[in-house]
Symmetry: D3
Subunit: 288 residues, 6 copies
C-alpha cells in the first residue's frame, strides 16, 4: 500500500484541474498506430472512465491503420499510399469499414464499459454526424469533411455517455468513405466547442530533430505552424494534426496537445497534473 | 399522378392507426434471410422513416446470416450448425461482429438517414445494453441473454433517433458473443414496454402446411404455441420467434406479428391498415 | 379494399411533406361561405385531425356570414353592407357573437373532437388574444386589429390542442366587435411565425377571368398584388385575403394558399401532395 | 382615504388565508339567477382576478337561465319545466348554446380580462371536457354527466388562465346537451381535486325557514343532507347543490359553501376572512 | 369585527399592486437603528411573509449597529467612528460578525419562519455572494464591495425562500470585513434586477429641514442628489442611501424608497397602496 | 514532483470510489474538539471541495464546544455540565448561538469558499430545518429534535452548494435551543437518505481500551452497541454517536464511520481508498 499522506497529497493536487475541466468537452484522437488491436491500452480506458466520473465530457475518435493493413494482407489486397493517404478501392473500403466500425470501435466500447464507464460506439454515418464527399478520384473512397452535425454527439454526452467514433462517413450517393481521423477530431472539437483537443500518438510530441526523442518542443504557437511545415520540422502525420490544431484554436478551442499515447496514463497526467507532457499548441495570445 | 380523391381517402383511412401508435414503441426484427446486404429493401426504410415522423418509436434489430456465410467462404472457414445455431469459433466470431456491427448495421443506418430519418447503429455492447453469457461450450461464442439495460435505447428514442441494433454482446470476460436476434428482439420489446413486436421474415407467416404459402394462419393465441411446436407446425426459425412472442405478450406487449418482409411496405401496411398480413400472435384474452 | 401497393405508394409519397411540416404552425381561414352550418364539411375536420397527429400545429379561424344573415332574417334585422363590410348595429353584434362564438365555433370543436382530435373553441376576447378598436362609426360594431397577444394560442398548440377561433374581439370599452376573419388569420399567422397560411374559399383560387373557373392563376408574387387589384382581377373578398397574404409573407410566412374549400380534402392534398391546388402567393425571391 | 392602520390590519388579517389557498383549486358556480346579463356583478370579477394573483386557481362554471327565458320569449318558444329542469327541444337547445357559450360566457371573459385577469371561455365540448348523454327523452336535450376529462382545465390553470365554462356538452351523436351547472361544478371540483367548491346563489344560504332570510344554517354535515331533503328544508335548486356538495366532500373536497352572490365581494370575504357568510357543508369528521 | 364592505374594498384596492409586483424582486434594507434586537418589529415580518405569498421575491439586508455598541460596552471596547464609519479592530470585527450573522440575522429568520414564511439567513461570505476588500487601513476591518455574485440569492428566491443577509464579507486573505449595509442593498438590488429598493429607517423620509419631521420631501429625482448633498440637506446616513439609490436607478431599478420603519406596516402600505409614505427617488424621466 | 506513474496509479485506484459515491449524500459531523477555531483544519476543507467536484453531495454539521467555553470565561459565565450536556442559561444560549452560527459556521464557509468550493452556512432555524423542543428544564436551553424538514438542505445540495450547519434550532415559543450535533447529524443523514454518515472526532475510533489508542475496533455491528454501552466500552461522547449510528443504519444509511479528524485528509482517505481508518458501524447483515 501507498503511504497515506502521499495518496492524499496527490489526489488533492489534482483539485484545480477537476475544477477546470468540470462539465467541459475534451476530444481525443487515438491513433491506430498505438492501438494494438488485440491489446488495447487499458490505462487509457481507465483514464477515460475516471475523467467521465469527474464530469468531463469525453469524445473519442479512433483510427485503425495497422489492423486494416493486416486484413489487406489476409485478403491479398495490395496496400498503396499516395501522399500519406491509403488508396482505397471498394474492396478495401468494405473491409476498412468492417474493421473500424465493427471491430476496433466495439472493442474500445467493451473496454470502457468493462472499467465501469458508459460508452456508445458510432461512426460518422450515425445520426448523419459527418457530411462528406470524395476527396479526389485518385484516392478512391477517401473522403473529406463537408459539414459536421453535432446533434447526436451532444445528445450522447448530455446523457453521460462517452461517444467512441470511427472516421467513416457516407457521401451523397450513400457510398462509404474513409476520412483522416486527425481532421475528424479537429472538426468535431470545433463543433462541440471543446475546451481541449488531444492527439495520442506514438511519438513523444513534436520533435525538433525527428531522430532525437528528447528534442520535444513543449509549446508551439499557431502562428509558427506554417513555417514549421515549410522547414520540414512538421511532416507526414504531424501535418493534419497541426493544421487541425490551428483551425481548432482559431475557432475557440483553448489548446491542442500532441502526447505520447504509449505512455500509460498520459491522458490522465496531461489533464490532471501541472506538468504537461508532449507538445502543447496554443494561440499567439495565450498566457498574455 | 394518382386520382386525388383516392389519395385523400387512403391517407385518411390511416388516421385511426396514426392515433393508436402515436408515441408507442414498435420493435422490429429484420431477418438476415431477407436482408440482401448489397440491395437492402428500400421500402422498409422508407416505412421506418415515415413511421418515425408519425411519432412511432421504432427500434430495429437485425441479423445477417447469409453475409456471414459468404465471408466464411471467402476466409475458408467451415460453416457448421448444431440445432439451428451457427457454431461460432473465435475466427468466425471476429468476422461475425465485423459484418453485423460494421457492415450490415451501418448500411441500414445510411439507408434510413438517406431517406431523411435519424438512425444510430449500435450493438448490445453499447451502453451495456445486453448482458450475456455463453450458451454452452459446444456452440462456441454463441450467447444467451442474462439481462437487458434499456437506458441507451430509451435515451435514443426519446431524442427521436431510430436505434438500429446488431445482436452482438460481450460476456463477463469481455469476449464477443453472437446472440439469436429473435430472442434479442423479444427481450428488448419487453424492456421497452413496446406496444408491438414485428418479425419480418422470408415466409408469408406461420403456415399450417409448410409447403403451401397460402396456408397462413392469421391469428394464434399464446396458449396454442406449445402444442403447435409439438405438432411440428412450428419448427426451426419459427420456434425462437414464437417463444419470444409468448414471453413478450405475457409481459405486456399487445401483439406480435410475423410478416413477409419480402413484400414491399409490408411494415407500413401492417401498422397503418386494417387488414393485417401474415400471422398475429395474441394473448388468450385478446378481443374479449 | 384498395390495392395494397397503391396504398403504400400513396402514403410513402407524402413522406417529404410530413417532414416539412413537422412541428410547424399552419393557420387556416375557413370561410363562412363554404361552411354550411348544419352540414359542416367533415373531410376538412378529418384532415385537421390527421395533420395534428402528424405533428402539425393547426390554428383554425372561421367566419359565419350566411348563418348571421339567416338569423338577421329570423329577427327582422335589415342586412346592410358598406364596401363589403356588414354594417353591425348593437342588435346585430349581439346575435353575431352568439352565432360565431356560441354556435359555429362550438360545432366545429365538436366535429374535430368527434374525429378524435383535441380542439378548443375560443374567440379574440379569450386571453386578450385580439386587441381591437372600432373601424369607423359608419360600420357600427366592426373592428380592426390593434395588436395580437399570441400567449393563449401558443399555450394551446403546445399542449397539442387545435385552437378554433371566431373573429370577435372587444374594444377598450368592453364592447364586442366583429372583425374580418381574413385579416385575423393573417395577423395570427404572423404572430405565431406560421409556416403557411391557407384561405379555404368557395372558388377554385384567384381567377384571371372571374367567370371562368378554369382560369386559376397558380402562382402570384407579392409584388404583383397591387397591380392585380388595380386591374380589378382581385376584387371583393379577395382583397383582404391578398393584402393579408402580402403582409404575412413580408413578415416571414413562407407561402399563402387560396384554395377551394368545397373540394373534399383540399387541405390535405395541398399540404401532403406535390401538386398544389388553387393559387399560391409567395415572395419575389421564392424559388431563387 | 382609509386610515392606514386599518388598511394594513385588514390586509394582514388575510395572511393565513393567502397561505391556505395558495396554489389550490377553487371551483365556483355562478348562478344564472344572479347574473343579470347586461349588468354582471363587477365585484365578483375583481375578486376572481385578485384571487388569481394570490396564486389561487379559480375555475368558474356559469348558468344563464333568465337570459334563455328572455330569448325564448323573443323567438316565441314556450318555456316548460319538468321537475325543475327546462324541457329543451332542438330550437331551445340551439338558442341555449348560443346564449350560454356565445354570449354569457364571453361577457364574463371580457369582464375578467378587463380587470386585468387572464380568462378563457370554454364549454364542456372543448377538449372533450364533459362526456355526457341524454338524461331522458322527456326532457329533450338535457344531459347528464358520464365522465369528466380534466386535461384542458388543468392545462389552462397551469398556464395561469381562469377557465370560464358553460355547462354545454355533446353526446355520442354529436348533439348538444344542456346540463345542470350545479352538477357540472361538483364533478369538475372532484376531477381537479379542488380544495373548495362555492355556489354563488340569490339567497343568503340554506334557510331553516325559507321565508326568513335571517334563518341561515351556518354549517351542515354531509350526513344531514338526506334528512334535510326529506324534511323539505332543502328543496328545488338547493337539491342539486347539496347532493353535489355531498359527493364532492366524500371525494375529498374540503368544504362546500353556499353563499349570497348578490352581496358584493361575497367571494373574497368567504375566502379571505375568518367569518364565513352563508352555509358551509362539511364532512362528519370536520373539526375533529 | 370590521365592516365587511370596508374589508373587501381595502383588499380590492390593492389589486393593481398585486399585479405590478408579482414575481418581481424587492430588496429591503432594514436598519440597525430601528431594529431593537430584543423586540424586533413584528409588523415588518408579517408584511414580508404576506408579500412573499403574493409572489413578491423579497431579499432583506439588515444592519445591527446598536447591538454592536452594546456588546462593545460589555467587552470594554472603545466605540470610535471616522466619517460615520465604525472603526473596526479585529476584536470588534469578531464580535460584529457574531452579532450580525449569529444573532440579529437568525432572530429575523426565526421571526419570519414564525409567521409562516420561509427564510434563510446568510451573510456575504455564503456562496461567495459579496467579493470585498478593505476600504482603507484607517477604518480597520471595514470593507467595500468589489463584486456581487448573485447565484445563491437567485437560487434561494427561486426556491421561494426569503434570503436574510448580514453585510459581512471576506477579503482575499479570508479576513472578515464589515460593509455598510446601505451600499450592500444597492448593489444587491442591481445584481438581481430588482424592481424596487426600500430603505426602512428611523426618520419619516428625507427632510427639507432636519428638525421638522413634517418637512418630508415626497419625491426626488436622481439628478438632484448631488446638489442636495452639497446643500447639506442630505447628510450622514442619508448619503450612502441616496448615492446607492442613484446608482441603482441608473442601473435599471425603477424606484428607491426611504420610509419610516418605525411605523407599523410601512412596508406593506408602501408596496400595496397608492399613497406612498416617505421619500421616493426616481430617474429624471420618471412619469414622462 | 512526484513520480508520474505513482501519481497516475494513486488517482486510478480511487476510481471505484468515485463511482460508488457519485451523486450520493455524505453527512459529516465535525466535532468542536478538533475544530481549533483560529486554525481550522485546512486539509478537511480541501477534501470537502474535492469530493464536491467529484459529484458527492456533502452536508457538514459542526459543533464548537471549546470556543463556547472560552467565551463563557471571557464573560464570567460558569461552565456547568449535567450528564455530559452543557447546562445552558439564557446568557449562555445567546453567546452559544452567536459563536456557533455567527463565527464558527461562517469561518468554515469562508474556508471552503477559499479552496474553490461553494458553501452556505445555515443553522437549524433556517428554512425551519430543525423542529425542536426543550429537553428538560434542568438543562435550560438544550433542545431535542422533534422533526427534520430537509427541503432547504435538498435545495442547496441540488444547486451544488455544501450546506454547513450549526446545531441551533428554535422551539414553539421562538426561543433558541442548543442541540447535540451528533444527534443532528444522525437525523439529517436519515432525512436525506445519505449513503454514509461520518463522525470526525479527536480519537482514532472506538477503543477497546480507552487508554490504548492502538486498540481501535475496526468494525462494529449495530446489534453490539447496547452491550458495548453496558460494558462501558462506549461512554461519554461515543454514546450519542453510536446511538445515532444505530438509528441511521436501521433507517437505511449504509455505514457510519467514526474517524480521527486530527489526521490530515482522513475524510478523503476514508471515502476514496480501500483501507478505512477508525471504526465502521454497519448492520448485522452487512457483507452477507
Amino acid at each position: 500500500m501507498f503511504d497515506k499522506k502521499l495518496q492524499a497529497k496527490i489526489i488533492i493536487d489534482a483539485l484545480p484541474y477537476f475544477k477546470q475541466f468540470n462539465n467541459q468537452v475534451i476530444v481525443i484522437k487515438y491513433g491506430g498506430s498505438i492501438l494494438e488491436v488485440e491489446d488495447v491500452n487499458d490505462a487509457l480506458f481507465q483514464d477515460i472512465v475516471l475523467l467521465s466520473y469527474l464530469g468531463v465530457k469525453i469524445v473519442l475518435i479512433h483510427g485503425g491503420g495497422p489492423e486494416i493493413s493486416r486484413w489487406q494482407k489476409i485478403l491479398n489486397i495490395e496496400t498503396k499510399f499516395i501522399e500519406g493517404l491509403r488508396v482505397t478501392d471498394s474492396k478495401t473500403m468494405e473491409i476498412t469499414e468492417m474493421i473500424l466500425s465493427g471491430k476496433v470501435n466495439k472493442n474500445i466500447v467493451a473496454k470502457i464499459q468493462g472499467y465501469g464507464g458508459r460508452a456508445v460506439g458510432i461512426c460518422g454515418k450515425d445520426g448523419g454526424t459527418i457530411v462528406a464527399k470524395k476527396k479526389s478520384e485518385q484516392y478512391g473512397f477517401v473522403g473529406e469533411i463537408v459539414d459536421i452535425n453535432p446533434s447526436l454527439l451532444t445528445a450522447l454526452v448530455n446523457s453521460n455517455y462517452v461517444p467512441v467514433m470511427s472516421p467513416i462517413a457516407y457521401d451523397e450517393d450513400g457510398s462509404s468513405l474513409n476520412i483522416n481521423a486527425d481532421f475528424v477530431a479537429g472538426k468535431i472539437a470545433i463543433s462541440l466547442k471543446a475546451k481541449r483537443l488531444l492527439y495520442l500518438t506514438d511519438v513523444p510530441g513534436i520533435l525538433l530533430n525527428k531522430d532525437d526523442p528528447s528534442s520535444v518542443i513543449s509549446k508551439i504557437k499557431t502562428t509558427q505552424i506554417d513555417s514549421l511545415i515549410e522547414e520540414g520540422i512538421l511532416s507526414k502525420g504531424m501535418i493534419p494534426k497541426t493544421l487541425s490544431a490551428k483551425e481548432a484554436i482559431e475557432a475557440g478551442v483553448e489548446a491542442v496537445h500532441i502526447i505520447d499515447g504509449r505512455e500509460p496514463h498520459s491522458l490522465l497526467l496531461e489533464v490532471l497534473t501541472p506538468e504537461g507532457v508532449g507538445t502543447m499548441i496554443v494561440s499567439e495570445n495565450y498566457d498574455k
